[in-house]
């Protein structure tokens, strides 16, 4: 650890733990970011911790989204086909009325 004078400008370890998401999300002012980085430069524990969070996010990215179940697929396709048939019906119904109205 470095001297008290430089450390006093920096967030504490506890603050680093709580602010890690603000840091990774780029939600800090340039000044805050600078002080956060300075802490990491001087504290191996917090450095390793931030890497743990980065690794967590990376592992999450490999939890591939759930697949569409065959049952849901069938059911929703039926919804789609019914909707399409009905909307086609509505359109042709309208066309039919227009035809009657305008004699063609």
């Amino acid at each position: 650890m470095t001297s008290q004078a430089t450390m006093s400008d920096m967030p504490s370890c506890h603050e680093v733990i709580q602010l890690v998401t603000d840091y990774l999300e780029g939600a800090m002012s340039p000044d805050e970011q600078e002080r956060f980085r300075a802490h990491l430069d001087n504290c191996d524990g917090c450095g390793a911790y931030v890497e743990q969070i980065r690794t967590t996010v990376r592992v999450m990215g490999h939890a591939t989204p759930e697949a569409l179940s065959p049952g849901a697929r069938q059911e929703l396709l039926a919804v789609y086909r019914k909707w399409k048939a009905e909307s086609a019906g509505r359109h042709s119904g309208l066309r039919g009325k227009l035809r009657k109205l305008f004699g063609r």
């Binding site: 504490s12 370890c13 506890h14 733990i17 709580q18 890690v20 998401t21 603000d22 999300e25 939600a27 504290c43 191996d44 524990g45 917090c46 390793a48 911790y49 890497e51 743990q52 969070i53 980065r54 690794t55 967590t56 996010v57 990376r58 592992v59 999450m60 990215g61 490999h62 939890a63 591939t64 989204p65 759930e66 697949a67 569409l68 179940s69 849901a72 697929r73 059911e75 929703l76 396709l77 919804v79 789609y80 086909r81 909707w83 399409k84 909307s87």
Partner: protein
């Protein structure tokens, strides 16, 4: 099929604006394949999202179906002011709220209520979620946290580890689960998540933070063993 496989390899981490535009046009032209693509991408996360809020799985299924029907009937009016996927989720959230209100129950998607509800339980958890080796009383590291980034890929990304992550997410409070699923698993941007779930920037970040803390803790026990 090759298309679907490619998407899965990318882990859904692409939000190509052009790709969505094409899908919207195809959907308007009545192309069933475009609808199937949307279902493959968004139905499972949408359903999970709805199940977190609604009292029964049947009701969630029902609202999901209603949502897709609303997407079909509304696609001509979709103006691409938001991305297609955020629009779909917003429809789902609105339909769920409407249904619950009609049945005389209230369900809140509002960030404020969710935030404060989560807050109370979280205060007690904060210490528990601190990383191993960090002394809360002394406010410093009594031992160095493990260097996970040096773990072999085969261990970090094993089926077992990934399954553990998925299970942990499912046990999170609903709004945390929704945010971390869309951000970190589905790869949405924070702007999209805010819009889909009607969250402020600050609330989205707080929910993401809490969710990541819990997933990190679960990974810690898994990678480093259960004992403290």
């Amino acid at each position: 099929m090759a298309q679907t496989h490619g998407d899965q390899l990318a882990g859904g981490h692409t939000a190509p604006q052009e790709d969505e535009e094409t899908l919207v046009q195809q959907l308007r032209a009545g192309e069933e394949a475009a609808f199937v693509t949307l279902l493959e991408r968004h139905h499972a996360p949408l359903l999970r999202f709805l199940r977190n809020y609604l009292p029964t799985a049947e009701l969630a299924d029902d609202i999901a179906q209603e949502t897709w029907l609303a997407v079909l009937t509304g696609i001509d009016r979709f103006e691409a002011r938001s991305s297609l996927r955020t629009w779909i989720f917003r429809i789902g959230a609105n339909r769920a709220q409407t249904r619950m209100r009609r049945e005389g129950r209230s369900v809140s998607f509002s960030a404020l209520e969710q935030g404060s509800a989560d807050h109370e339980s979280d205060a007690a958890d904060i210490e528990q979620l601190l990383p191993r080796g960090f002394s809360h009383d002394q406010g410093r590291w009594s031992s160095m946290p493990a260097r996970w980034e040096e773990e072999p890929e085969t261990r970090l990304l094993s089926d077992e580890t990934v399954e553990l992550v998925r299970e942990t997410v499912q046990e999170l409070p609903p709004m945390q689960a929704a945010v971390i699923t869309l951000r970190d698993i589905e790869g949405w941007t924070s702007a999209e998540v805010r819009e889909a779930l009607d969250l402020t920037e600050g609330n989205q970040r707080v929910l993401l933070h809490r969710a990541r803390m819990r997933v990190r803790k679960a990974l810690e026990s898994h990678l480093e063993g259960g004992a403290q």
